[in-house]
Amino acid sequence: MFRIKSPQDAGAAVVFIAIGVAGIYFGSDLRFGSAGSMGPGFFPVILSWTIVGIGVIVGAKALAVEGPRIEPIQLRPILVIVSSILIFGYVIDKVGLAITVALLTILAAFARKWREVSLLETVLLAGGLGVFCVVLFVYALAQPFPAWWGR
């Protein structure tokens, strides 16, 4: 069997081939046309085939040349940051900017290890940033956000 010598390249190859194949598959509904009169599918499908080609080359390289390993993926920071962004989007029009900012600050603090988080410091920071953001975005920059609850 083949042995993967460069895990990073192998990962990149999988991503490229997946994107290329998706581009070809979902582009097949679009009219391809001809060079003289390009349809909406012409450029994207050619691009997708090229991406698949690049993916194959990177994949071949992964089997042929030694390369660095993939750094271990830590789930905590990525999950906490991603979910705090999504929560921000879904609560801001209900509870207003001040509370949302404070909430996001407190949530984001837990992207670090539990024992490193000082509760008092986090609450103070949340309050400070809440006031600061309301003054800056709602009053100074006149962005159309509710400052407090729906108002």
Binding site: Q8, D9, G11, A12, V15, F16, I19, G23, F26, R31, S34, A35, G36, S37, M38, P40, G41, F43, P44, L47, S48, T50, I51, I54, G55, I57, V58, K61, G67, P68, I70, I73, Q74, P77, I78, I81, V82, I85, L86, F88, G89, Y90, I92, L97, V101, L104, T105, A108, A109, A111, R112, E116, L125, A126, L129, C133, F137, L141, P144, F145
Partner: protein, 503 residues
């Protein structure tokens, strides 16, 4: 010609010196210095965060401010490199080597002083470069037709890939993925939606701001949090005197000149930019030095050269964007995005249709460099104190600005979801050794490339020979082929490329 230039510069200073624009230039320079000093946030996410806020400004004000952030960051970045041995910006990585050594020897003051003075000199020369090279290049660009534009973009993207660091083949893949992502949304010619999967947020195309903030800003935060020890600055030296001594100046003036020249030229090349310029300048200084062993032990040339080079490149980077409409790196792609948002198509037409905009920007850069000298030298103490703010207090604020910036595009959660998708996507790609910058270049050029390809092939009735029959296009494509061949065939070329980024 000479009189023209004076007349144009007068127009520019007239536009840039309005109280309003001076204010925005100052805000930009101040913000640029701030994020330059702070490790963990760079010009790309900062400019992306501010894009939604610039919707309401007039075009010149917003461009003046955003440009100030880019070159301001070059000034601020050196401060952190010299004082705490952490590069505030990628373009100041090499400054750490000799700058921090100087600081340990108690010579932080002269290092900071020469970095700021060199940057100022380079910034002035870079501005003159834009004023001098802009109009003739724009005149050439007026001769360009669709096939020429298409070939120019091919050359630009290929050069960008070769000059960027990391794997070339993976960077090519990222450019292509970027081009494909740029095509998502409604096709202007057929009116059909492509790759939208019924998601209404992307009917008009994927929004630039959440994509860039996701792939740069959010990914950067996540990666900083993954490190067991968060970046923690540690100050070594107190500064006594900021002014370099006579000997310092004698030692470094040539390095400043070489750095400025090298940076100005590398800045014009597609793919070139502040980072490449600083690395190249350090390598050059080491090569020409009488005693190369001094490098790494506090040689002032090792600070003066790269710091001048990165600032010169940060100015001349604007030349391809303003004259050809071709962004040469991710920051310029953002500037292009800012111009498009304002309804201005970057390119040669800017100079003829909106001379106030082009010359106003040129003038503002010179004014901005002067402001930066004042912001950085006397106020250095304030910036140093900022460094003691720990990252755990900083990242919630950075995250908030990113999120609020995206939300303010159309006050809906949809754009935040797109940002999250690209953050996760960019995170994994980075784990696989794929840099996000080429993707952003492809993304902004995707629709333009398709349109120019279509037009070229309509003119030629489907005959691809049109790209080699036109002299301009043929020259551009031939240059591309030579570059690619050089990379494949000449091992020497490949080694130089690798070395330039290692050090």
């Amino acid at each position: 010609m000479g009189l023209d230039l004076l007349h144009n510069l007068a127009t520019g200073f007239g536009a840039a010196a309005s109280l309003n624009n001076l204010g925005f230039a100052f805000i930009g320079c101040l913000l640029g210095t701030l994020i330059g000093v702070l490790p963990g946030i760079g010009p790309i996410p900062t400019i992306a965060m501010l894009l939604p806020i610039t919707f309401g400004l007039d075009p010149l004000s917003s461009l003046v401010m955003l440009a100030g952030i880019y070159y301001g960051a070059q000034y601020g970045g050196s401060t952190t490199s010299i004082l705490v041995n952490i590069p505030g910006e990628a373009s100041s990585i090499v400054t750490c080597i000799d700058g921090y050594e100087m600081a340990k020897q108690g010579r932080a003051g002269p290092a900071l002083g020469i970095a700021a003075l060199g940057s100022f000199f380079a910034g002035c020369v870079g501005t003159v470069f834009i004023a001098g090279f802009g109009p003739p290049l724009a005149a050439v660009a007026q001769q360009f037709n669709s096939p020429d534009y298409f070939s120019l973009m091919v050359l630009g993207l290929v050069t960008a890939v070769i000059l960027a660091h990391g794997s070339v083949i993976k960077a090519v893949g990222m450019v292509l993925v970027g081009l494909l992502l740029g095509l998502v949304g409604t096709d202007v010619n057929s009116g059909l939606t492509r790759y939208t999967f019924g998601i209404s947020e992307i009917w008009d195309g994927i929004d630039f701001v959440p994509l860039v903030i996701g792939m740069f800003g959010i990914v950067e935060i996540i990666r900083n949090l993954e490190q067991t020890t968060l970046p923690r600055p540690h100050l070594v030296a107190r500064m006594r005197d900021l002014w370099p001594t006579g000997k310092d100046l004698r030692d470094s003036w040539q390095a400043v000149l070489r750095g400025t020249g090298l940076g100005s030229i590398l800045g014009i090349l597609p793919g070139g930019g502040a980072v490449l310029a600083s690395f190249a300048s350090y390598t050059l200084e080491k090569k020409v030095a009488k005693d190369p062993t001094r490098f790494g032990k506090g040689a002032i040339e090792g600070v003066a050269g790269p710091e001048s080079a990165n600032n010169a490149a940060a100015q001349t980077n604007f030349i391809p964007l303003l004259t050809l409409g071709l962004p040469s790196n991710a920051v310029m792609a953002l500037m292009m995005g800012a111009m498009i948002i304002q309804g201005i198509q970057p390119g040669a037409a800017v100079m003829t249709k909106r001379p106030d905009l082009f010359w106003g920007m040129v003038a503002s850069m010179w004014i901005g460099n002067l402001m930066l000298l004042v912001i950085n030298l006397p106020l250095i103490g304030i910036w140093v104190r900022l460094l003691s703010v720990p990252y755990r207090l900083l990242y919630p604020a950075i995250l908030l600005f990113c999120v609020i910036g995206i939300y303010s595009i159309n006050t809906s959660a949809g754009q935040l979801t797109i940002c999250v998708v690209f953050a996760v996507f960019g995170y994994f790609l980075l784990r696989f050794g794929c840099e996000p910058a080429p993707l952003v270049l492809g993304f902004i050029l995707g629709p333009l490339m398709e349109e120019n390809l279509r037009r070229s092939l309509v003119i030629s009735r489907g005959d691809p020979m049109v790209f080699i029959e036109r002299p301009i296009s043929a020259t551009l494509l031939a240059t591309t082929v030579v570059l690619v061949l050089a990379l494949i065939v000449l091992p020497q070329f490949r080694r130089t490329r690798r070395e330039a980024f290692q050090e």
